[in-house]
Amino acid sequence: MKINTKRRFIRWIPALFMLVVLGACSASGSQAGQEEADSNLKAGNVVQYTNESTEIAVEAPPLTDGIFPCNDCHSDIVPNPQRRELVDFHDDISVLFNHDSENRWCLDCHDMNNRDSLRLASGKLLSFEESYKLCGQCHGEKLRDWKVGVHGKRIGEWNGKKEYLLCVHCHNPHSPKFESMTPEPPPVRQEDIRIYEPKNQENDEEK
């Protein structure tokens, strides 16, 4: 009996070891995620999130070409926390900004010290790939629906791998209301559908 239990214990040692290693890995992973929120973005990869055993591929965020990383410019600029309308740069965003503009401005979502990151109300930094968490701070019901695939659009397989779009793929974060669009042409009216086939062609058409 004694030998038996000892053997059983020995058999578990490698498994335990693996667990410890894995635990350490995931801990360091999440830490790195917080410190360098932009690491995934630089690689330009589609990020895999695990959500209740379903893998969710999120398309890379739709950043304006050539503008990222923000720190390329911002590292030389002394941050000004004063709420104001931007005129020299990013004035294009100022013009269209319509997202509770009465109460909010840039630094409510963008981090003042690290412009390559977004910032939750709690102070936690977020990468642009995780922007949906930032949106979910206020739009919790939408976030819940998005996670289960009811709000927003999914592409892929109904019984397998799906691709999620981020909130910002459809909504401009600075002006989230959908713009109206031109509809595709209406169907031909019943009375305008002409079915005319010349007699001599009829035989060919039967094939």
């Binding site: 695939g149 659009k153 999914r154 397989e157 109206s180 509809p183 595709e184 209406p186 169907p187 031909v188």
Partner: protein
């Protein structure tokens, strides 16, 4: 006189007449075989395979492309359901044309499997006062909402029960399909459908060669012929491969949802359990598997 009226001479004459008619009509043996093809559901495995091969060759000759024609049966344990968010649809009709392209609908004369109805918010869901031909500069229009209608994939489909030749039926995964080779074009099903979801090929369907979708299913988007009825199949050629229907993927506002009703973790089940849901013309007891819901 009596002799010439005998049964034997009658048979002789009729066989001679039919043989000469056949010879005169210039009907090839292959075409004859096609004419006597059995109902799709009664074909043996071998016959089915042969039929698929023949059709692929026929389409290749006609459209000069390689075709893949599937006859994949229903996946076990699936019952397909669809949900459309009325609060989101903006009436852009992108789904209509994505469907036309995916399912090889005739461009001329025009056939659309999806009708987007514009309704007045004041009147609610009111088919009599709805407008399918709306054409403003931009949508959505003030004071209106949009209700796309396509085959509702009823659990008790009236269209299939009225078919005199059983050319249309409900598959085990709930999709109502048509065997175009078996359809005689009587259009009883169109009269029976309360949703106007079935469409008749009054003329020879025209599809531009470069626009034809070569991924096809026998019961779905293969080219139809003049004189047969067609309808939405939830993109049978896609969903039986695990993919979403084309209209789901094209919708720019994410109003269209699709999934397996038998899977308690599917999006469609979440909607049925958590949102306000309705079906069209509930009083007719057609029991649609196409649901409309309010996402907000």
């Amino acid at each position: 006189m009596k002799k010439s009226n005998s049964r034997r001479s009658f048979l002789k004459n009729i066989s001679l007449a039919s043989a000469s008619a056949l010879a005169l009509s210039g009907c090839s043996l292959a075409e004859l075989e096609k004419f006597f093809q059995k109902n799709f559901r009664t074909l043996s495995e071998k016959e089915r395979k042969q039929l698929i091969e023949d059709l692929e060759a026929e389409y290749k000759q006609k459209y000069h492309k390689e075709f893949h024609l599937s006859d994949k049966p229903a996946i076990d344990g699936t019952l397909f359901g669809y949900a459309l968010d009325i609060s989101r649809c903006i009436g852009c009709r992108k789904c209509v044309y994505a469907c036309v392209e995916e399912n090889n609908q005739s461009r001329e004369p025009q056939i659309h499997w999806i009708q987007v109805l514009q309704m007045e918010k004041e009147k609610g869901i009111d088919f009599v006062h709805s407008d399918v031909h709306y054409n403003p500069e931009t949508v959505p229009e003030e004071g209106h909402f949009y209700l796309p209608v396509q085959c509702q994939q009823c659990r008790t489909p009236q269209c299939t029960t009225v078919c005199p030749v059983k050319a249309t039926w409900q598959e085990p995964d709930g999709i109502v399909v048509v065997d175009y080779n078996w359809c005689i074009g009587c259009r009883y099903c169109m009269a029976a459908c309360p949703y106007g979801a079935r469409h008749f090929n009054w003329g020879k369907p025209e599809i531009p060669e470069e626009e034809i979708n070569t991924e096809m299913h026998y019961l779905g988007n293969r080219p139809r012929m003049k004189g047969v009825v067609e309808k939405c199949t939830f993109c049978i050629q896609r969903v039986r491969e695990g993919r979403y229907p084309a209209c789901v993927e094209v919708c720019p506002v994410g109003a269209r949802k699709f999934g397996n009703l038998l899977d308690p973790n599917s999006e469609i089940r979440y909607i049925l359990e958590n949102k306000r849901v309705l079906v069209l013309k509930e009083e007719l007891n057609t029991q649609p598997k196409f649901y409309y819901f309010f996402g907000v």
